[in-house]
């Protein structure tokens, strides 16, 4: 008889045998549920890969456009100097400021550098010519670091370029009147970016979760057999189950928009009608994903796990939490597949930049395509029989 015999006595406070019985049963059940087992291994791996390799809070090589109204060695030196800082990559050379602004609005570039006419002449005369650097500040964290280095970079370029008689122009003060414009979010307020983005995040979470549970619940409760025995067709079940959630989605958006306006003072520049159009496509895409999950998941727990599996990369790779352009190419490609990535660009574009229909089309069709693919998979997976 050992000391543990008191504890393991039948009817005692804590029975070792009963504890072991429950313990063993749990292990057996855990082993049976392959998906949960996969999650236990899969989630840490995904998180390690995403946080370790994909996420970079100091994005470099950001696309920029330049408008050069003064072809001169100084202009070329400026462009080269900024590129050498590694933060900027001049991908576009715009003919006019208007064209460059449009690129900024579409999100093609994040910066516009405007070198005015007469730049080098004014510089040589010590007249401190003005130099405009406009940034898309909808996401202040994506452009912040780059903008912080501009002043220093330009000073270095000038120190190098102003030689000989011009060396006198080198002073403590920059020989250029550098004007930095933070467009769409002049004060660099983070919540202007986060709050509209949250709309997409909340919709992704709730829409996928609710639909993925919708079918699994039928199966778990045994009502699926009755439903399948009726003449209801898959498309009718899918449409009927999805439609109420579209309304739920709109209710959520309304709450977020009211809060954004009244509590957070987020500027709402663009049209809400256009936003609701984009929302239909985005919500439907998420619902198709949820429906696909619900045809695969065997129980509600699995449905929740699949939702999480989709939600995690959506949060991390879409540009919601971390700058999209800071990620390596493979992560950007993955991100481009996700509907949230495109929706974030749309919602920020409409609310903060006042983008119109033509401006959002390049972001809208990938969501539509995603919806079609996910919807097709869902329809194929949904079986009218119990086989």
């Amino acid at each position: 008889m050992s000391a543990s015999s008191i504890l393991s006595m039948p009817g005692g406070l804590f029975s070792w045998h009963r504890f072991v019985a429950v313990l063993l049963k749990e292990f057996v059940q855990m082993k049976r549920d392959r998906l949960t087992f996969g999650m236990i291994v899969g989630v840490p791996i995904i998180q390690l890969v995403l946080f370790g390799f994909a996420i970079n809070t100091d994005p470099k090589g950001l696309p920029a456009a330049v408008v050069i109204n003064d072809e001169s060695p100084f202009s070329r030196a400026l462009v080269r100097g900024l590129e050498n800082s590694q933060y900027f990559k001049f991908t576009h050379r715009a003919a006019s400021e208007a064209e460059a602004d449009r690129l900024l609005k579409l999100g093609e570039v994040q910066f516009v550098l405007v070198i005015p006419a007469d730049f080098s002449r004014q510089l040589q005369r010590g007249e401190r010519p003005s130099l405009l650097m406009a940034a898309d500040a909808t996401d202040p964290s994506a452009t912040g670091n780059a903008l912080a280095t501009v002043n220093q970079t330009i000073k270095q370029v000038m120190d190098r370029e102003l030689t000989g008689t011009l060396a006198t122009l080198k002073s403590v003060e920059l020989p250029i009147d550098l004007r930095i414009q933070r467009r769409y979010n002049p004060e660099g307020i983070t919540r202007y970016n986060i709050v509209p983005g949250l709309m997409g995040v909340i919709l992704t979470m709730t829409m996928i979760m609710m639909t993925s549970l919708a079918m699994t619940r039928e199966r778990e409760r045994g009502t699926m057999e009755n439903l399948l025995a009726t003449p209801v067709r898959p498309i009718e079940v899918m449409a009927g189950k999805i439609a109420p959630f579209i309304m739920v989605g709109y209710a959520q958006v309304t709450i977020i928009l009211i809060a954004a306006k009244l509590i957070f003072g987020v500027p709402i520049v663009g049209g809400l009608l256009l936003l609701s159009l984009a929302l239909i496509v985005f919500i439907a895409a998420n619902l198709s994903v949820g429906f696909t999950f619900s045809t695969i998941a065997k129980n509600q727990l699995q449905a929740m796990q699949m939702t999480f599996f989709f939600f995690l990369p959506s949060m991390l790779l879409s540009g919601f939490m971390f700058p999209f352009r800071g990620m390596p190419d493979w992560a950007q490609v993955l991100g481009e597949v996700l509907p949230l990535t495109h929706f974030l660009r749309i919602v920020r574009g409409i609310l903060l930049k006042g983008n119109g229909f033509a401006d959002i089309v390049p972001e809208l069709w990938p969501i539509g395509l995603f919806m079609l693919v996910a919807g097709t998979v869902a329809m194929r997976r949904y079986r009218q029989t119990l086989d």
Binding site: R221, G222, T223, M224, E225, N226, L228, A229, T230, P231, V232, Q384, T385, L386, D387
Partner: protein, 331 residues
């Protein structure tokens, strides 16, 4: 065979033609041949053929896991057979599942209406799915007939087993089906509710509805017009209850007296005894070979402790006999 002979079906009151293999009747509601369903290596239903005529109440019997549910599901298009073919209500069971579903009422073994919908909401949902004409009227009438009009807003999940069963049957009948498939509809239902249920089934069959019902209850089996006995996926017998008893060739002796348990124990090893089944205060001893059975039992007949009577084997004796003779292909 005398072609002029017509037997009168007592339930329908309509003259039906006797079964003839050469001349298939147009009035067969279910006519399937060679249905087979496999799950992996396991053959759940093996080469199953059945023919059910209009207005018949066809009983499906067999041990648990014998393939009754699988067969029913194949008949209404919920499962695709791996082999076999046939028609249900004149539609191909492989290609025309949709048409079959419209005219079949299927009552699942487990309650499969929505527990979080009210009684009326459940009926309304089913009526809408089947596009029942005059929906509100039909639902109201159904509720009145069930005696649930005052409880229409009660959640279906809060109903007792008997009421759930009544509601499920009512839901199956909303769209006026031509064929009812009932999968152990009375499991866990009290005797009175079962009796009422069967009275309703007979009324429906009299109106021309065909019913295929699986059950484990012998009293229910006896109320069927015809029985099919399935074990381990194979159809072992297909006849009326009386025919089954006659065809079984079983001889059954009933013993009463003290210490029947000891008697049963010793009889089990005696040659010619196929089955020893206690029925309350009596013991049924059956065997296929009457002469051998009598010979073996002779020493026991002389014992003063027991009183022996030769009886007609019950349906249960017949089925247990069938079950014992079938080889279990799951082992």
């Amino acid at each position: 065979m005398n072609a002029k002979i017509t037997t009168s079906n007592s339930a329908t009151g309509k003259a039906i033609q006797p079964f003839s293999a050469e001349k298939p009747l147009v009035d067969a509601v279910i006519d399937v041949k060679g249905l087979t369903k496999k799950y992996g290596d396991r053959t759940v239903v093996d080469d199953f053929s059945i023919r059910v005529e209009r207005g018949q109440i066809y009983g499906f019997l067999g041990p648990n896991g014998s393939g009754k549910t699988t067969t029913i599901r194949m008949l209404c298009g919920l499962l695709t057979p791996d082999a076999g073919e046939g028609q249900c209500l004149g539609f191909d069971i492989r290609k025309q599942a949709m048409q079959i579903k419209r005219q079949v009422g299927y009552m699942t073994q487990k309650f499969s209406l929505y527990e979080d919908l009210s009684i009326a909401e459940n009926l309304d949902f089913i009526a809408r799915v089947y596009a029942v004409a005059d929906r509100n009227k039909v639902v109201d009438e159904t509720l009145a007939r069930l005696g649930l009009s005052t409880r229409r807003t009660q959640l279906a999940g809060s109903l007792s087993g008997g009421w759930k069963q009544r509601l499920a049957l009512a839901a199956c009948l909303l769209h006026d089906p031509k064929l009812l498939l009932l999968d152990e509809p009375t499991a866990g239902v009290d005797p009175k509710a079962r009796r009422e249920f069967w009275d309703q089934i007979h009324d429906l069959a009299a109106d021309g509805l065909t019913v295929l019902v699986s059950t484990h209850y012998m009293d229910e089996a006896e109320r069927c017009h015809r029985l099919a006995y399935i074990a381990y996926g194979k159809l072992l017998a297909n006849a009326t209850a009386t025919e089954l008893i006659q065809q079984s060739g079983l001889t059954t002796w009933s013993a009463t007296g003290a210490s029947l348990h000891a008697l049963a124990k010793s009889l089990r090893s005696v040659p010619g005894v196929a089955m020893v089944v206690p029925f309350g205060a009596t013991l049924h001893v059956s065997g296929a070979n009457a002469a051998l059975l009598d010979l073996s039992l002779k020493p026991y007949f002389d014992q003063a402790d027991y009183r022996w009577i030769k009886i007609e084997p019950s349906l249960e004796d017949v089925f247990i006999g069938l079950m014992n003779s079938a080889t279990d292909n799951y082992q």
